[in-house]
Amino acid sequence: VRQQISHALVEAGFQVIEAVDGLDGVAKIEEHADLAMVLCDVNMPRMSGLELVETLLADGKYMQLPIVMLTTEGHPGLIQRARQAGAKGWIIKPFKPALLVATVRKLAAP
């Protein structure tokens, strides 16, 4: 799925930085200060997507960085938790490439 997402976004003209799990995601976000947005799954090895959102947005440093969850999960409680933590969206797999690109264009716009 990560490759599919990357392919769809690269085709649309975006530059994509991939991470293999939640902890790697946090490291990549800290490494690249110019990121326009983050897409992440909920169920990931080592650190879940919800923990990632809560970790990043807790100290206010990344409040301007839109984070969207892309997952098979649809539990309203999880969606609410992500929303409360500051995530900007929730996409339930399977994703539609055109819709994903439109969402990224909207949220990643300067």
């Binding site: 392919h7 098979t72 649809g74 969206g89 339930i92």
Partner: protein
């Protein structure tokens, strides 16, 4: 095959039967593959990818197995993708659909990590009276097994809870 008749367990199994069948058909439909139910397992020498993923929960635990033949699987996965990885992802997406449907019945399950194998002439051996779900993908075959242990007091009945959004939905906050 159909679930056993009569009693609370049978009623639960009937609901699960409906959820699993519908989730399987809708999953493949999302990838433009139309599944129809088969009554009998068709022997095939074609390579089959069998992906399994376990789950736990307070009222339900078990495992899902999704086993499409190579022909059926190939019609769903993007070029360049490793088929066994994709089989695992499809199993993950199928269990996600089932999990999201179960929320409406007040049941929460927590999936584990999927694993997949491939082989020729694989036979799916069901446990006890748990029937496999057999589908024709025209061309190709898909077998689904949802092996589940339910808490003895569980009664699957629609609950007054917020339903999960539909697969493919995008929610912006």
């Amino acid at each position: 095959m159909s679930p056993p008749e009569g009693g609370r367990d049978a009623a639960n199994h009937r609901i699960l039967h409906s959820i699993v069948t519908r989730a399987s058909v809708e999953l493949f439909s999302a990838y433009k593959v139309h599944l129809t139910r088969r009554k009998e397992l068709a022997p095939t020498e074609e390579t089959t990818f069998a992906a399994t993923i376990g789950f736990t929960g307070a009222s339900m635990r078990g495992a899902l197995l999704l086993a499409p033949t190579e022909t059926a699987l190939a019609r769903t996965y993007p070029s360049g993708k490793q088929p066994h990885d994709w089989a695992s992802e499809l199993a993950n997406q199928l269990l996600g659909r089932i999990k999201n449907r179960l929320v409406s019945y007040g049941v929460e399950i927590c999936p584990s990590v999927p694993v997949a194998i491939k082989g020729r002439g694989l036979s799916i051996v069901a446990r006890g009276d748990i029937p496999p779900y057999l589908f024709d993908a025209q061309p190709g075959l898909v077998t689904v097994l949802f092996d589940v242990e339910m808490h003895h007091e569980l009664i699957l009945a629609p609950q007054d809870v917020t339903p999960c959004p539909t697969e493919g939905d995008t929610l912006l906050f």
